[in-house]
Each structure stands twice: as C-alpha cells, then as structure tokens.
C-alpha cells in the first residue's frame, strides 16, 4: 500500500478508535479531503506533533473552541466554561494518542519513527504553515454539529538517509 493511502486509512481508524475508547463517542466515517479542502483554519484550537525518523513530517488536529471544550468534557469529565488549561491539555493528549497510533501503523511499512511533544495553539485570526513541500493527507470527522480535522504530511527524510549512507572515507575527510 502506498504511504499516503496508509496514512488516510490509519487516520480514519485511529481517530475513530481513540474517540470510541477514550471519549465513548462513535464518530461516523471521516471524509477524505484533497489539499486545501477544507481551507486552513484561521481560528480555534490547533495542535501539532512533529514526526522524525527515516521519514519526517507533522501530524495535526484542529477544531472549534466549542468542540475542544466538548473533547475535554468527555475526556476529563469536567465542564470547562471556555478554553482553558484543561482543554488545551485534553486536545494535546488526544493528538498524542491519535497521531501516536497512526505512527505505530506506519512503522510497519516505513521503519522506526519518533514523535515530538504536542504543541497546542488557541486563538483567532492566525495562519499555520509547514515549511515542507509535501502534500497533506486530511480527514474531517463530524461530531454532530462540530467538525474535527486530522491531517498529516510525511516524506522521506533525506538527511536521515544521507547520514545512514555516508561512505566511511567521506567521514574521515570531514574529521
């Protein structure tokens, strides 16, 4: 299976599994989006996790502040009045579990991968951009009137391959 297809399938199954297991919510099947659809979020809650290894990239979740509060409510059994530390922690942990599960699926095909600590952004009128040129694989999930976007971009890590394949005599010259 090509990696992009594997990413899409793994995002779909991992997100459904984490919502079912940790939140007790059965999400309907996600909708696969082409790059640029839906448009990049410019407000709400967005979380990112870096992925590194022989392949490198980023995994991301984004949703409205209302949905982030619902996630927190289901996950921690608290009722946050608005986006607060608990909500950001809950979204970070959800991202960690979903992208961590996708990473596990991918490792069988792509080899060992590492994850960074999640970063969560909450605000209005912001822009997000990845410096990579790889196409994002995106899946949206509807939870009643709310929508969650889960996406990932991943490409072969040329630096990792270069380090792995540097001939011994080249190393000697550099020393």
């Amino acid at each position: 299976m090509n990696p992009n297809q594997l990413i899409i399938e793994s995002i779909s199954s991992s997100t459904a599994n984490v919502f079912s297991t940790m939140l007790g919510v059965e999400l309907p099947l996600g909708e696969v989006c082409r790059q640029g659809e839906p448009p990049e979020p410019d407000d709400g809650v967005v979380s990112f996790i870096g992925i590194a290894g022989t392949w490198a990239g980023t995994g991301s979740l984004s949703c409205s502040p209302q949905m982030a509060c619902r996630i927190c409510s289901q996950l921690l059994m608290t009722e946050p009045p608005a986006v607060n530390e608990d909500v950001l922690d809950a979204v970070a942990e959800l991202t960690n579990m979903i992208i961590g599960s996708v990473k596990t699926d991918l490792e069988s095909q792509l080899g060992p991968l590492g994850l960074s600590i999640p970063t969560v952004v909450f605000g209005r009128n912001f822009k997000t951009r990845s410096a990579g040129k790889t196409e994002w694989m995106s899946v949206t999930f509807d939870w009643e009137s709310d929508r969650l976007l889960v996406k990932m971009c991943l490409a072969p890590n040329e630096k990792a391959h270069a380090i792995h394949h540097v001939p011994v005599h080249t190393c000697a010259l550099e020393i």
């Binding site: 599994n17 984490v18 297991t21 921690l76 922690d89 809950a90 942990e93 960690n96 596990t104 490792e107």
Partner: protein
C-alpha cells in the same frame, strides 16, 4: 484490603483520565497519588506507601524506564509492581521495560476494562474485588 496506587505521567490530562478510569474499575482503591515525572514519583514514594505504580514511559527529567530501574534497585520498592503506559508502537521500549522487571504494560488509548484486567491480575493477592 484497599490499595494505594501511584500514577506517573507528565500529562495532567492523562493523570485525570487515569484517576477516573481507576475509580470506574470498581477495584478497592484507598488512594491514587499523582506525580508528573520519575523524580516526583521517587520524592512521593519517600513519604507514602504504594501497592502499585502505573507510569508513562516518555517523560521529561526522569522517564518511566529510569524510574522502573530505580525502583527495582531499591531495597524498599523492588517488590512493588510497576505497570507501564505507553503510546509507543515499537516493541523496543516495552521489551526493555519487561527486561527491567515491569509487571506489565498498557497501551494508550485504553478502556477501564483493559486497565482493570491488567491490574487485577497483578494486585489480586492483595486486592480482593
């Protein structure tokens, strides 16, 4: 007999989830203590008796494997069962934990039933349900 459990995770969200899930299991639990990393866990263990440690693997300062090694090297705590919680897919860290003496491991995401199944087998002699 009721047990004291120590939950070690750098994520406050996961500690809260584990508090809730452990209560949902219906096991006889007297207290659930919390620590944010291995160093905090060791400091807490200096002052509290616990019957089981449930710890994340990836944490800052002192990770779960270092904590496990410290407990197994301790005269006071080497018999205390330690269960690892991880999102790691690779078997390397889990295998390392088992080699160091972990009593078992649970993968995130987890359900109350999965936690109960794992802990009951370990605490059974001391924890009638």
């Amino acid at each position: 007999m009721e047990s004291d459990i120590l939950v070690v995770d750098d994520s406050a969200a996961i500690r809260k989830i584990l508090q809730r899930v452990l209560r949902q299991t219906g096991m006889a639990i007297r207290a659930i203590h919390e620590a944010g990393d291995g160093q905090e866990a060791l400091a807490l263990l200096a002052e509290h008796r616990v019957d089981l440690v449930l710890t994340d693997i990836n944490m800052p300062k002192m990770d779960g494997l270092q904590l496990l090694a410290s407990l197994k090297a301790s005269a006071q705590w080497h018999n205390t069962p330690v269960v690892m919680i991880t999102t790691e897919g690779g078997e390397t860290k889990v295998a390392e934990a088992v080699k160091l003496g972990a009593a078992g491991y649970v993968r995130k995401p987890f359900t109350a039933d999965q936690i109960k199944e794992k802990l009951v087998g370990i605490l059974e002699p001391a924890l009638p349900l």
